[in-house]
Structures are given as C-alpha cells and as structure tokens.
C-alpha cells in the first residue's frame, strides 16, 4: 500500500525535484546527484513490503548503476550428504559480513563494457558481492560452490535480486529507478549507492543511507520482549490462559 502511495507522488513534483537536482549538479560542478523518495521504511503491523523511488541527475553521458544493500551479518552455509541413507549436514563454511539484502539496477548491461575488477571494487552485480569466509578456505572450487549456494538461497528468499529494477533515463540527464523491499526485509541500516560509469570506469559515486525499522506496535512488542523478558513471558502465558478460559466459558453457554 505504502509503495503505491509513493509511486502516486505527483509526477510534476518529482520532476521538479529532479530539475532542482540537475541545476544543483551543474552549479556545484558535481557529476552525479541522487536521492531517495524516503529514507525510512517503517514496518508497521500491516506491512507487506514497499517500494522506494531513487531519482537523480548526471552531468553528461554515461551509464548509471544503483546498488542497495542491507545490514551485514555472519551466515553459515551448510552442505548435505547422504550418510547411511539419510541426508545430513556434513560440511559448512561461515561467511563474514554478508549483506542481508542486496539489489542492483542498471541503465544498461555492464558485462563486457566494464572490467570485472571495477565491478568487484564497487560490488556491482550478484557475481561481485564481497563474501569472505571467516576462515581461510584452500580449495577455490569449494568456496565458489558455497558462495553460489549462499546467493541462490538468498535469491529464493527474495532478498537478493538483480532483475527487479532498471534505471530509466528521462531525457539526457535525469534518471529514476524503483527499489522493491519485500515483506520479509530485515531491519537495520541500508545503503543506496549510485555509480556513474563512463568509458568502462566509475567516474562518480554517491551513497545515501536508508533505515528499515519496526514502528509502533511491532516495535513496542519487540522491545518489551527483549528488555523485560520475564514480564513478557508471564504476561504472554497469562494471555494464553485467559484466551483458553474465555473460550471455554463462551462455549459452555452456547
């Protein structure tokens, strides 16, 4: 719902923003300016996912890449093997500082245009996300396999995407893209990085923070459960007992 509201922003208003940005870009001699339609994604009780619009302006020719990535954490990838007829986790690799969420949008395909080293440096594209194991793994083949499995699992959960948004140009200088955040988006601090690519290299970049946070009732419940866990435990059990009791009484009369 929220997403639709944002998209329903009067086109004129958005264009106005963009024009302002374009003017600013010229005036300050910056080659790239960009901003988000919202810097806070509020997870309320009715949250079902949302869209955020990223818009900006460039000072001339070039392709634009947008990378949005979420809070980092350690992720363990486990591999199953058949042991005595059943499938059991037999091996694992832990990766440090794995982004919980990752999405990329491009104005044009970059494969073959931009050298892999450049894409690697800026983590543009699923193949170039920095995923380092916590311990040194000797076999490069094994590491690549686990790395691919991590990305595949994340894609299945809808948390790593590539095809979602394309960056579209409005004329020569103004661009915009829509970034989708699914209902299971993890809470935390995100960054939206915008890259201006010219002649196979990144000539300008800008990073904007974005916060995903529980708001209102959801946030209160989480805080209560964590800060006053004993009180929460007693209260939740009492609620359960009361609900059971009430149902028993209601059904007795009917």
């Amino acid at each position: 719902m929220r997403g639709r509201h944002l998209l329903a922003l009067p086109a004129g208003l958005l264009a106005g923003f963009m024009l302002l940005l374009a003017l600013r870009a010229d005036a300050w001699g910056q080659s790239l300016v960009a901003d988000l339609s919202s810097h806070l994604i509020a997870i309320t009780t009715g949250f079902t996912g949302t869209d955020v619009v990223l818009f900006g302006a460039v000072d001339g020719e070039g392709d634009v890449a947008v990378v949005v990535q979420g809070p980092e954490g350690e992720v363990t990838v486990r591999h199953k093997d058949r042991v005595a007829g059943i499938w059991i986790n037999t091996d694992e690799i832990a990766f440090a500082r794995v982004p919980a969420f990752y999405t990329v949008a491009l104005s044009a395909p970059l494969d073959g245009v931009v050298p892999p080293a450049v894409l690697q440096r800026h983590e543009i594209g699923l193949d170039y996300i920095r995923l380092a194991p916590t311990q040194k793994i000797d076999k490069a083949e094994k590491l690549a396999e686990y790395r691919a499995a991590l990305i595949r699992n994340k894609q299945r959960m809808g948390l790593y995407t590539t095809e979602a948004g394309e960056v579209s140009f409005l004329g020569q200088r103004l661009f915009r893209t829509r970034i989708h955040f699914p209902a299971n988006v993890p809470t935390g601090t995100y960054t939206a990085s915008v890259f201006l690519i010219r002649d196979g290299d990144v000539v300008s970049a800008q990073t904007t923070p974005l916060l995903v946070s529980k708001i209102g009732f959801s946030a209160n419940v989480t805080e209560f459960a964590q800060r006053q866990s004993v009180f929460y435990a007693v209260l939740s059990i009492m609620l359960a007992v009361t609900a059971g009791w009430l149902a028993g009484i209601i059904f007795r009369k009917s």
């Binding site: 997870i43 309320t44 009780t45 009715g46 949250f47 079902t48 996912g49 954490g73 350690e74 992720v75 363990t76 990838v77 486990r78 591999h79 199953k80 093997d81 058949r82 007829g85 059943i86 499938w87 059991i88 986790n89 919980a100 686990y146 499995a149 991590l150 595949r152 699992n153 994340k154 299945r156 209902a183 299971n184 993890p186 809470t187 009732f217 959801s218 946030a219 419940v221 989480t222 459960a225 964590q226 866990s229 004993v230 929460y232 435990a233 007693v234 939740s236 059990i237 609620l239 359960a240 007992v241 009361t242 609900a243 059971g244 009791w245 149902a247 028993g248 009484i249 059904f251 007795r252």
Partner: protein
C-alpha cells in the same frame, strides 16, 4: 488480511493462521493431544523461523490445553491426583530438556535430531496404536482396559504404591512420574506438548480408563508447556505473542468442536484416527530425510533463528 509478526519478523495472512490454529485445535480437542507435532512443522513450512515456531507453539499450547481441559473438567474426566504426580516428573524433564536443546544447538545438527526423534517416536507409537486399535475394532470391544485388570507385570512390583481413586488404580507413583519426565524432555526438545506419547502411555502402561486419559494428559500439558514457554521467552525471546494469539483464537474454537465430536467417538476409533494422523506426519518427515533435497545447500541466518 496480511499481518506483520513482530518477533518472527514475517508478514503472514491472518486468515491462514486462524485456519491453521482451528484445524489443529480441532484435533487437539478430539484426541486429547496438544497438536504440537502438527503445528510446529506447519509453522516452519510457512516461513516462521524454527526457534520462534517452537517457542510460540509452547505458549499457544498452554491456552489450547486450558480450553480443552475445561470441557473435560465439566464431564469430570480429569484425574487431578494422577496429573499432579505426572507433573512432578514432567517439570524436571522439561527443565532438563531445555538444557539438552541448548547443548544440541551448540553442537549443530539440532534439525536432524528433531526430525529423527519425530520419525522414531511418532512412527513407533502410531504404528503400535494403529495395530492395537484396529484389532480392537475388529473384535468389537476395547482390549486395552480389559486385559490390564488381570495382568500383573514387574511394573506393579515397584515401590511407593499410591491409590488413584478416580482412575481406580493402585500403582507405584514412580510410573506416572517417569512417564511425565520423558514427555517433559520431549516437550522441550521437539517443541510438542507430548500428548501423542502421554495418551498411549497412560492407556497401556498405567492402564487408565480411556475416558479419563484425554483430560488428565491435557491437565499435565498445561504446566509442562507453561514451563517451556516461560523458559523460551526468557532465555531466547522466541515467543511471538501476535502469532500465539492468532493460533489460540483459531485453536480454542477448534478444540471445543473437537471435544464435542470426540465425545461421540468410541475409544478405539479415536485412537485409530489419531494413529493415522501421526503416522502420516512421521512418514512425511522420514521421506524428507531420505529423498535427495532440491538444494543440497542451506543457509543459517544471523541470530540463530
């Protein structure tokens, strides 16, 4: 109607959860089992993190059992004395089980242990129960309660004999306490109420009248799941109150209908039906362990959820 679960960090369809709670609640009232063995896998299937599924499940079982017990209480089908003796062992078992759960989690393979114990206990108990109840139905009478009356085994030689007038039993207090202890262990490790194990154990080992079994086991389950829910909420913060209340809302309504239908069923019919349902779950889990998974790789997200 989509609703966001604050602890599970997941957006779900409220109607789906209500229906899930109602369906499992119905079975709970019908058979006198908590239904945790169905609910926990179902919750994990719709995307709830396993730790949250187990913790929340314990909480909702408290409510469902209270509602279930009320209906049995009015029919005077609860043996409080026997229930309290079982509970003395049950609380010890639950506390030990929570400790073992933590140990298994640290060692890894917790999922495998849970799956294997489901297959082992559910499979064995339900097969035996199905076999017995089908036999009883074919003969047209209940064998269980009859054969025990003139059957004296070593179990009857145990010390601390105690009278349980409501169940017309004179047995060692150690027996119900031990049964309670083992079921308490499973409550904590498998995230279930333990009813499907309690019910046959009370019928076959204690030789209790079938009519009293459902009410008495539910009475005991209120307290063991209560202890588990408390420990889970305090140590792991894995009780999602929103999810628990939604499940309860569906569950308590379902349980009332279940109890009514259950009153019309004969003992062996109810046991055969329960055995079939439990067997189906065990077979499903066994198949999952044996067939090649779609993706051999799985990931564990931060936070251990």
């Amino acid at each position: 109607m989509q609703i966001y679960l604050p602890i599970a960090e997941l957006s779900v369809n409220a109607l789906l959860i209500l229906m899930l709670g109602g369906g499992v609640g119905f079975l709970s009232g019908l058979f006198g089992v908590g239904g945790g063995f169905l609910m926990t896998p179902l919750l994990i299937f719709i995307g709830v993190p396993p730790a949250v599924a187990v913790g929340t499940q314990a909480n909702q079982l408290v409510g469902a059992s209270v509602s279930g017990v009320l209906a049995h209480w009015r029919r005077n089908n609860v043996d409080v004395k026997l229930g309290l003796v079982m509970l003395s062992g049950g609380s010890l078992g639950t506390a030990l089980g929570v400790w073992i759960f933590g140990l298994l989690q640290a060692l890894g393979h917790i999922d495998l242990v849970i799956s294997l114990s489901y297959v082992l206990f559910l499979g064995t108990v339900s097969s035996l129960m199905l076999w017995e109840s089908l036999g009883a139905m074919l003969r047209g009478r209940s064998v269980a309660s009859r054969s025990k009356l003139h059957h004296h085994t070593w179990l009857h030689g145990l010390p601390f004999k105690m009278r349980f007038p409501r169940s017309r039993l004179y047995i060692s207090a150690l027996l119900p306490a031990l049964i309670g202890f083992f079921c308490g262990l499973l409550v904590a490790i498998m995230g279930i109420g333990g009813g499907f194990l309690l019910v046959p154990a009370m019928i076959y080992i204690l030789g209790m009248p079938t009519a009293l079994v459902a009410g008495t086991s539910l009475f005991q389950i209120i307290f063991t799941t209560g202890i588990a829910a408390f420990l889970q909420a305090v140590s792991n913060q894995t009780v999602d109150i929103m999810l628990a209340l939604l499940l309860l809302l569906g569950g308590v309504v379902g349980a009332q209908f279940g109890t009514r239908v259950g009153a019309k069923l004969r003992g062996e019919q109810a046991r055969a039906l329960l055995a079939l349902v439990v067997l189906a779950v065990a077979v499903k889990l066994a198949v999952d362990l044996i067939i090649r998974p779609e993706d051999l790789f799985s990931i564990t997200l931060p936070g251990g959820a």
